[in-house]
Amino acid sequence: MSAHSTSSPLKTYVTIWAALLVGTYVTYRVAFLDLGPFNAAVALTIATIKATLVALFFMHVKGASDKMIKVVVISAIFFLLLLLILSMADFGTRSWS
């Protein structure tokens, strides 16, 4: 996949690796701060940033020569969100239970 890039990707990989470790440390420390209702939101935001970094740079979604890969990734995320959002819309509005 890196046939199109002539420069060494080593620097990118190490930077992303460091960012992921920092993200883990931040998640861990933030969990002990009282952010009211936002603790879970912050934890999930950091996790999503980390997952995006892994997908874009380690799994080479960024710069993928085959556009079909991006189509598959986006539709997978779309259907996952459909599963989660519709289920939560159901369970979140069940006033009778």
Partner: protein
């Protein structure tokens, strides 16, 4: 036209790694990657169902989940997150050096990945052992009496609701561990390929799609760690 096609096939016939139904190595590589991505999409839905179940029960039994989560060893969980992130780095390095025929570096990266993968499972095993000792494994011997709910003095978790948390904990981390074991199997296979000099700059697709699988398993853990280990830690 057919002569041209025949000539093209003949020309590419020099590359033993190119299957006859692909026009060129690039196309073969893209097809393999795309196939892996479609598989990972199904994996995302597979884990997604469990994350959905987790989400519903966590909102329903929030305090019980926080109480149950507080019995996990957060330090070991955080260490395991770091171990997996490091293994993702060695995997992406393996994919990179496989494209440039650096065999020693490739073998080193693959062995490092295997060591980190086994370290993850070892740490997970220690955590599972602790849970068995504490009778926190769902089943007839499950016991979760008088465990306080964080942030609610004098209130204790409902053992039945805590058991749902531990059932989700063991199913989700257990299936993740099964994926890790399969990933280690794939990387042992990649190591033998590299050892036998079967991976070349022209043909290294196994490393690439094996790497995609490994990174996906890493992403699952990136979500499992905060969701299972870090509920209401501040209370």
């Amino acid at each position: 036209m057919s002569d041209q096609a025949a000539a093209a096939v003949h020309e590419e016939g020099h590359n033993p790694a190119l299957l006859h139904h692909f026009a060129e190595p690039e196309q073969q590589r893209d097809a393999a990657s795309l196939g892996m991505w479609v598989f990972l999409a199904t994996e995302l839905m597979f884990f997604g169902g469990m994350f959905c179940a987790y989400l519903i029960y966590r909102l329903k039994y929030f305090g019980d989940f926080a109480a149950a989560s507080s019995t996990l060893n957060t330090a070991l969980g955080a260490t395991n997150t770091g171990v997996l992130i490091c293994s993702s780095l060695t995997v992406v390095l393996a994919v990179w050096v496989a494209q440039t025929a650096r065999r020693t570096l490739l073998i080193t990266s693959l062995i490092l990945t295997l060591i980190l993968g086994c370290a993850f499972l070892g740490i997970k095993g220690v955590e599972y052992h602790d849970k068995f000792v504490e009778h926190h494994v769902p089943g007839p011997s499950f016991s979760f009496e008088n465990e306080p709910i964080p942030g609610h003095p004098g209130q204790f978790a409902n053992p039945n609701h805590a058991q749902i948390y531990f059932a989700l904990y063991f199913i989700m981390t257990g299936l993740h561990a099964v994926h890790m074991i399969i990933g280690i199997g794939i990387f042992v296979w990649l190591l033998t390929l590299a050892w036998k000099r079967r991976l070349t700059p022209e043909y290294n697709t196994p490393v690439e799609i094996g790497g995609l699988y490994w990174h996906f398993v890493d992403i699952v853990w990136i979500y499992l760690f905060p969701l299972l280990y870090l509920i209401d830690k501040h209370k």
